[in-house]
Assembly symmetry: C2
Homo-oligomer: 467 residues x 2
């Protein structure tokens, strides 16, 4: 029996081959004893559902059985039978149990109903719980959906560098990367640190975005997308910030603002629909345990079209709301960056659906966005979602060399190490655009979880690099 091939629990639960002998392996979720039989709920991570093992106590060694507590790891061989119990179609009548590993009473995940904060201390073991099993199976599915979406449409997956010597976007504080001996830093006569002997011969950091390199990919391969880790060294201890997170950044040659909005909307609907199609059990669990409006919210995103409007139209609606007596904390005026309260008003109260906002004042957007003919607004496009706020930020890029240089100079952006970026506008420049999506933001939306630390296996946050 020992060498019998294992069947995954997700497959066992779908089987109707009653009477067959099967072997399952996994971890004990619960172990209950009654008079003549014990019930062991076994989970192997392949599905949120456990398979119930029915053990005849008269034919099984009592000593062995007593050791099997929550968290133990077993190999069980037995007969697949139709279940009489509620909520399950099959169970296994145990013929043989092999113990791979027992689990002491100090097992941190023993008790049910621990807080997420408590579980975060045990990032390695919380993965064995229903909630985190569900979250990380869904995370997998969202990654697969993303690759499938772009692959089907002829995009090429493009690996932009993690270690970078440029910080043109100035998107935030960066982590420095070095191999220098910090006890013996070389300095020049003015006391400035010399990077000649550092690994790359210059000061380097962890990337905050792959977009600029992504543009190099798009202006040669046509359509690319990145999907990799990005970093922000911001000291923000909030449920929305990670120091290390994954970003998806598609970039497309020959795209205009309308096609870009179509791409954004198609993309995010595809991902949400994928979750609804492939993660039913996990979503139902989260809907019942974490957020009762989760499924309803997911379905509403895929069923209607997103409202598209310009920033200027958005400001007018907000001003009208103020005139009608709506109170915002921050005053509304053209030129301001929308605060979360403004975005939520538009999405959740006014339109009651996702919003794509475009044509923002150039002053509040990045230097590379394409300037409109009004000389005041740029072709930026943000997708605003209920609860999450901005889930996608994108733009058509300025492809005109002269106009781009004007923006760079106006903003005093250091372009010393950026000659390669400007080259794309010099040699056969082309209209192009793209967007960025924070992967963990998407996972928050799709799982209904509230804290971004609970949708990445091992979060990196200020003072925390555990595991």
């Amino acid at each position: 029996m020992e060498t019998m091939r294992r069947t995954k629990i997700v497959d066992v639960l779908k089987s109707t081959d009653f009477g067959a002998t099967v072997n399952v392996r996994g971890w004990v979720r619960t172990h209950r004893s009654s008079k003549a039989v014990d019930f062991i709920a076994l989970n192997d991570g392949s599905t949120i559902k456990n398979v119930q093992i029915v053990v005849n106590t008269s034919t099984t060694d009592e000593q062995t059985l007593r050791q099997i507590t929550t968290g133990s790891c077993l190999s069980v061989t037995g007969t697949l039978v139709e279940s009489q119990g509620k909520g399950q179609s099959v169970e296994i009548q145990c013929k043989d149990i092999k113990i791979y590993g027992l689990c002491g009473s100090d097992y941190p995940m023993q008790k049910k109903g621990q807080t997420f904060e408590y579980m975060r201390q045990y990032g390695h073991l919380r993965l064995r719980t229903n909630t985190f099993g569900a979250v990380f199976r869904i995370r997998h599915h969202m990654a697969i959906a993303i690759h499938q979406f772009f692959h089907d449409r002829g995009f090429f997956y493009f690996h932009t560098p993690i270690i970078t010597a440029s910080d043109a976007e100035g998107a935030g504080q960066m982590f420095q990367v070095t191999t220098q001996n910090l006890y013996d830093l070389k300095k020049d006569e003015k006391g400035k640190i010399k990077y000649d002997d550092d690994f790359f011969g210059k000061m380097t950091s962890l990337t905050v975005s792959g977009q600029l390199e992504g543009e190099l990919g798009a202006t040669s391969l046509g359509q690319i997308y990145t999907f990799g880790p990005t970093f922000r060294a911001e000291n923000s201890n909030t449920p929305r910030h990670l120091a290390e997170f994954w970003m998806i950044e598609p970039e497309v040659a020959f795209i205009d603002l309308n096609d870009l909005m179509d791409l954004e909307e198609d993309f995010i609907k595809y991902c949400v629909q994928w979750a609804l199609d492939h993660c039913q059990d996990d979503l139902e669990f989260l809907n019942s345990m974490i957020d009762k409006t989760l499924l309803e919210r997911l379905r509403s995103v895929v069923s209607g079209s997103f409202k598209r409007l310009t920033y200027t139209e958005g400001i007018d609606i907000l001003k009208e709301a103020v005139a009608q007596g709506h109170k915002f904390e921050f005053p509304v005026s053209w030129g301001m960056d929308l605060a979360s309260e403004h975005e939520r008003y538009l999405v959740e109260e006014h339109f009651k659906r996702p919003v794509i906002m475009t044509d923002y004042p150039k002053e509040i957007k990045a230097f590379y966005m394409k300037l409109n003919d009004d000389n005041k607004t740029v072709q930026g496009t943000d997708v605003l979602f209920p609860q999450i706020g901005e889930i996608i930020g994108g733009s058509v890029r300025e492809e005109d060399y002269g106009k781009l240089m004007e923006q760079i100079e106006e903003r005093h952006i250091p372009m010393k190490d950026m000659w390669w970026y400007l080259d794309t506008r010099k040699y056969g420049t082309c209209p192009h655009g793209g967007f960025g999506l924070g992967f963990e933001r998407l996972i928050l939306f799709v799982t209904g979880m509230q804290n971004i630390r609970d949708v990445v296996p091992f979060p990196r946050t200020p003072k925390n690099a555990e595991f």
Copy 2:
């Protein structure tokens, strides 16, 4: 005409809708003039093939036409016609040309036949050449194949952290990650740098492998794989080393050595077969321009089974070869690490096919590999490939807490920050194993390229972090 929808060149070339008006957009590869017509070869990155644009010089503005040089970016509208020329089935009779961007005679990719070394200086523009277009389309396809392979088999994609505070594997020199002001480093009374104020409150580095965290995933979700960047701060200026590269590391609960070897062989054959099935045009180009034995080598890998043998058997074969007069630079004896010449002898001369070698002396392998009953060898498994050498390194992991601790103590491995790893052996330990594949090694094999810097868009190597 301006707003006509663009068709990708890969689709235009497959079309038989002769007489239809189409719009294509891309970059000029060549522009030849003859008496009555000009020929422009246009490429948009969607395929290695160009579409030929036939321009009637009598109806097109000569001034405009003369500006269109190699590298220029165009939008061309015209009639799809059957081609009379060799090597192409369709061409486009031009009705309208719009110039997006001209390209000066200083365009670095103007000349054909530049060396790869020259092109490496122009990482942003080499992407527009045939060779690098082919390499990076194949790179995309290999990434998709990897996700498809694991997804189809119920593995979950698992994001292990990039920034880490642990270095238990000691796999190599690491890059330090810090937000400290290097001009004002805090030190304690003994002169030791204090990391309390650093972002994570301790010394942190870039990961060299996701395996240890991957094991946490496998011992809860059952089967996971990583696919992300890893880093080595080795000062190795060779065609085989990168400071930043991508690794794939699957990890599987309840797997034994035989199943692990099956997984390795199935996996790599799946990837190579995917390339043969999906990248025909690009592979044919590389086979004719880069390596005339490429296709033959790829086909041979998928057609036969890999030779499986133990390290001890391998040593015996090498000793026999020496006895028969074969000269190796390094002497052959049991206990040594195989050199490249030994691996190549076994793979290329003795067996003439890929080899999976197992059961290595414990002294030359990592602490976490499962010890055999002989107490001398461990269940490591390397896949050795022609030309490439080791393409996969894997093992069954030691799941016994006591035995694992013995290995850790014997090797004096600092486990201070590794309590979470040991916990997996404490709470419901399970047999498990996995392997690692360097993504760029796979791309080298599949493309026939010789230098690893030419299979990643923007290589990171000593003294080089350009782009």
